[in-house]
């Protein structure tokens, strides 16, 4: 694709069952009732001049440039605010209109710099375009009058500048912040000539304001007033490629706007069905890591981890790796080998890695980092509904009347979808938040949760059962739905269980730490408030009862009849970009793609016929089991693609011990991450900008990832895996990831109708894509559950064994913040660090006072597993007795504190509950210092300066 701006129809699309036909400049057009004249004109291929209008914002009617004449109507109405009517005759180009528009444009230009040739928006500026469109040739008022040309730019934001001298006060930026992002950080300050865009009270800058740097204002700006610094530095893009973001599970699609091999900017694609033209600070701006100086581009090997790395050719690295794999298999057996594939990787990469492990290494010891985030979702939803996936698309939220958000912090973790939630909430939907912290969603501009239930960490199952108790005992269950769609006997068994007094809010309130009345109120609201949708995140799954909590959520959706239509459903918000896809692709050790167990002979036969090798019918090791087996001397080699288990997995010391016990650790990644400190082979990886493939987002939407630049290391990741497979003796000959997807489709019923040609044509497809649903399945379980009848599962509350006591009296829970992503390998190598330089410990004022702490103090965070130090921030966002931190920075290594307790069904780690003590500290722990010294030693590269890579 060459470079041209996305078409802008001026005002948003309108949905209506009624169609209206009118004539615009003699061209007849039929549009949904309520469509504006401006949009209708654009749909005919015409173009009415405009400045304040753009099609992702509500019509505003301020610039007076889009005036039209309409037969039988007085004056010259604004086309952006005038809806079409049946038989309407519209004229968009008349001498009267031309004169009016030119007059308007003269006023704008009289207070605008005439520096077009040197302006960074030259030839990509709507003001410039419209001046040309109205035929402006001079300005009668001159340029000497009072003006704003001397206003100083605000360059505080690391990614974009605000130059008020170029502002035409069209309010598009302010409206974008309100309507699209929902932060309301911007306003028009002053009146008349003094009107100006403001990011807060003077002397606030964009950086110090409440702006979250989503880029919506920059995208909306029709001039160079708000513009990316990269455009100023590099110049206007010359081509654009549509691709999918590699950060969170929302799966935003972007136009990667390029100049040569250089990314100029990432602009959210308006036709993207997941993000609908919006973005967050990570996807929009934080892609600089792709060309960061610390990227490792040459393969490296070493015989032991106390040696420096040695750069070698790809051939030497791959042959060395293959020799080591063969040696270890011969010496210890095939089950001493294994692999991990990251949810950052594409579907095709994930499929190839598990194929390599099963068909090449000869073992089912393959797992994915979804193990440590959403494996309980897979187990819980498969058990209750029959499919390991969420039930809705994101658009569904537009029809939700009550949202129940539990264990999720969407404004930080899934910000683009959070903006859509907020839009619906501002229109009147009700909100229940169940979270130990007062997240931003609980109270933000024009939004306040109807119920915030700040439960004690570890009591999710108790509170969900208490909610169910109220619904069942007060007769609020949707019996008609249950009788038709669910197993009635199982329901009765479950209803009897939840109705027991010991599951009442009154009984459980002291355990949960929330007033019984609030629990009752929330239950009544969810059951009676209309369409109820449940959204959840890792605050649900990362517990010893993660799977039980997912099933309790499914129970709640079924008992209220909130499944199988728009506006309802069970919606897991996936942490990484391809968590759903990694699970779909057979990356778990017990199942092949499409969630089919390896013990199923018919399924194995399919794969054996395609791959030409036998598949082990027994499940393999999960990640924690691999580490356990390694410390027991039974697991010796691992291929890790795109995952930093040393920083991300719990109980860091145990992970270190496991890795250190292996004889060959192969890390395939962008950077020398923490895990690479224990690696013997490093295979350079490629970024999402450098490869083709697909990601599957949280709504089961399979979306293309397209190569926008050549891989700096020379190979896409799937090619590296293929070369490794060849080196161990497999005859793989894929020439493009589309061929891998074809194989996936042949072997996986839910992907049967997926191929690259269709993805290119449709933009995306939501699985299942089958003969029965050839265009995909935005909403699941419409007429019946995949498993037949919905299954109510009794989820008894079993307290975690991680308990507070005199030594460790506080409960630590961990999470993410907006500007950083997971272990920070990407975002720490961008300007996003300006918002989050270090992990901080949130502690309640009471707990802080008891320990003599104030914000900014260094504190020691200690648990039974280990201890680390970080700085404290005192806040009542957390309840007394609860502390919170993030895990984005290796200097903190927050997971040295977390334990190896895990979900009973899936071994998903219990990150969210750790008993800890906080004490004042004056510096890093001895462990942190030793760790840093070991990391520095381990990152030495022979023949180069001995510099740490991080």
């Amino acid at each position: 694709m060459g470079y041209e701006r996305q078409a802008d129809f001026g005002t948003p699309e309108v949905r209506s069952d009624t169609q209206v036909t009118c004539s615009i400049d003699g061209r007849e057009v039929t549009v949904p009732a309520g469509t504006t004249v401006m949009r209708a004109a654009a749909l005919t291929g015409g173009s009415i001049p405009k400045l304040c209008a753009t099609d992702n914002l509500k019509q505003f009617g301020s610039c007076r440039l889009c005036l039209v004449e309409i037969d039988g109507m007085r004056g010259t109405p604004a086309s952006c605010t005038t809806p079409v009517a049946e038989g309407m005759q519209v004229h968009t180009q008349t001498p009267k209109l031309q004169k009016l528009r030119k007059g308007v444009m003269e006023l704008y230009i009289s207070d605008h710099p005439l520096d077009c040739l040197t302006c960074s928006a030259n030839n990509d500026c709507e003001l410039q375009d419209q001046a040309a469109a109205v035929g402006l040739r001079d300005v009668r008022y001159g340029y000497e009058g009072e003006n704003h040309l001397g206003e100083m730019p605000d360059i505080s934001n690391p990614y974009f500048d605000f130059d008020p001298s170029k502002c035409i006060v069209c309010s598009r930026c302010v409206r974008a912040c309100d309507e699209v992002q929902g932060t309301l950080a911007l306003t028009i300050d002053g009146r008349g000539f003094d009107s100006k865009v403001s990011a807060g009270l003077t002397p606030d800058s964009f950086l110090s304001s409440e702006c979250v740097s989503c880029g919506a204002c920059v995208q909306a700006c029709p001039t160079a007033t708000l513009q990316e610094k990269a455009v100023k530095e590099i110049g206007k893009p010359e081509r654009a490629v549509i691709t999918t973001c590699a950060y969170c599970g929302v799966g935003c699609t972007f136009r990667a706007e390029m100049r040569g091999e250089q990314v100029v900017r990432m602009v959210p694609w308006k036709d993207g069905k997941a993000n609908r033209g919006h973005s967050c600070v990570k996807g929009r701006f934080a892609w600089g890591y792709a060309q960061h100086q610390e990227r490792v581009l040459s393969p490296m090997i070493r015989e032991s981890i106390d040696q420096p790395w040695r750069e070698v050719s790809w051939e030497e690295a791959l042959s060395y790796t293959a020799r080591e794999i063969n040696r270890i298999r011969d010496k210890y057996g095939r089950n001493a080998l294994g692999g991990i594939v990251s949810s950052r990787c594409t579907n095709e990469e994930g499929f190839l890695v598990q194929k390599l492990i099963r068909a090449g290494f000869g073992t089912n010891n393959v797992d994915t980092c979804a193990r440590v985030c959403h494996s309980p979702t897979g187990y819980g939803l498969k058990t209750t509904f029959g499919t390991s996936a969420g039930t809705q698309d994101f658009d569904s939220v537009e029809d939700s009347d009550v949202m129940l958000v539990i264990g999720a912090n969407p404004t930080d973790g899934h910000p683009v979808f959070a903006s859509r939630m907020k839009r619906r909430l501002r229109k009147g939907a009700k909100l229940i938040v169940i979270d130990p912290r007062r997240t931003d969603l609980v109270r933000s501009p024009h939004i306040e949760a109807d119920f915030h239930l700040p439960l004690r960490p570890g009591t999710n199952v108790a509170i969900l059962t208490a909610l169910a108790h109220v619904i069942v005992t007060e007769g609020l269950a949707d019996e008609a739905f249950i009788r038709e769609r669910c197993d009635w006997d199982e329901y009765q068994h479950w209803a009897e269980f939840v109705s027991a007094e010991r599951n009442s809010p009154e009984f459980l309130s002291p355990v949960i730490g929330v007033d019984a009345e609030a629990i009752c109120g929330a239950a009544r609201l969810f059951a009676t408030g209309g369409n109820g949708a449940i959204y959840y995140g890792l605050g649900v799954t990362e517990h010893s009862q993660g799977s039980s909590t997912v099933m309790a959520i499914a129970n709640l959706a079924m008992v209220t009849g909130n499944i199988g239509r728009r506006g309802v459903g069970v919606n897991p918000l996936r942490g990484q970009n391809n968590v759903q896809g990694a699970c779909d692709m057979g990356s778990f050790p017990h199942e092949l793609s499409g969630y089919r167990h390896v013990s199923d002979a018919a399924t194995r036969a399919l794969f054996e016929a395609e791959w030409g090798v036998p598949i082990d019918p027994e499940p393999g090791l999960r990640i924690p089991n691999m580490l356990d087996a390694a410390t027991d001397g039974e697991f010796k080699a691992i291929y890790i693609q795109g995952e930093d288990i040393l920083q991300s997995d719990p109980d860091t010391k145990h992970v270190m011990a496991g890795l250190a016990a292996m004889e060959c650790v192969i890390v395939h990644d962008l950077f020398l991450n923490e895990t690479a400190n224990y690696a013997h082979v490093f295979l350079p990886g490629s970024t999402f900008l450098e490869k083709n493939g697909t990601f599957t987002n949280a709504e089961r939407r399979i979306q293309p990832v397209r190569k926008v630049m050549e891989p700096l290391n020379g190979y896409e990741d799937w090619e590296v895996t293929q070369e490794l497979a060849r080196a161990v003796g497999l005859d793989w000959n894929y020439t493009h990831p589309s061929e891998i997807m074809d194989e996936i489709a042949r072997l996986t019923p839910t992907f049967a109708g997926v191929n690259y040609k269709r993805l290119d044509a449709e933009g995306s497809l939501q699985w299942p894509v089958t003969d029965a649903a050839p265009d995909g399945s935005p909403i699941m379980h419409i007429d019946g559950f995949v498993r037949g009848k919905g299954k109510f599962v009794v989820t008894d509350y079993v307290p975690t064994d991680e308990r507070t006591g005199p030594r460790f009296p506080l409960l630590l829970t961990t999470g993410r913040i907006l500007s950083q992503y997971n272990v920070g390998a990407q975002t720490r190598r961008t300007a996003n660090v300006i918002w989050h330089e270090e992990d901080l410990l949130e502690i309640h004022p009471t707990d802080a006072e008891n320990r003599g702490l104030k914000s900014g103090d260094w504190v020691k965070l200690a648990s039974r597993s280990g201890e680390t130090t970080l700085r404290a921030t005192v806040t009542d966002r957390v309840a007394p007795g609860v502390v919170y931190t993030t895990f984005h920075h290796p200097a903190t290594q927050a997971n040295v504190v977390t334990t190896d307790y895990s979900d009973w069904a899936t071994n998903c780690p219990e990150y969210k509950v750790t008993a800890v003590q906080i004490t004042p500290s004056n510096g890093p722990t001895e462990w942190q210092e030793d760790y840093e010294a070991q990391a520095t030693r381990s990152r030495r590269i022979a023949g180069t300066a001995m510099e740490p890579a991080e």
Binding site: P619, G620, D628, D632, A657, V794, D796, W904, A905
Partner: protein
């Protein structure tokens, strides 16, 4: 806890049993769950060294698994994990 010890496996089995105690047939559910998600080696380790730490439902489930199970390899020479599926 650290290391894939029988003690840890027993803890895991007990944890599964406590969460499946309300199933219609908890012993069968626990046994099925362990067979579906654990490697044969993990099951062997628990059966060999960890059964005394099992709570009743988990113990019964492991007994059921043991009853329906081919004995684990007695020597490395008979271990298919060492020699692959075409050994012998």
């Amino acid at each position: 806890m650290s290391g894939q010890t029988a003690e840890k496996l027993a803890y895991m089995a007990n944890q599964i049993a406590r969460n499946m105690v309300h199933d219609e047939a908890p012993v069968a559910s626990v046994a099925d769950h362990i067979v579906a998600f654990w490697t044969p080696r993990m099951i062997d380790q628990l059966l060999a060294d960890g059964v005394t730490a099992l709570e009743p439902v988990a113990a019964e489930a492991m007994a059921r698994i043991a009853a329906g199970r081919i004995p684990p390899p007695q020597t490395r020479a008979t271990d298919p994990a060492v020699h692959g599926s075409d050994a012998g």
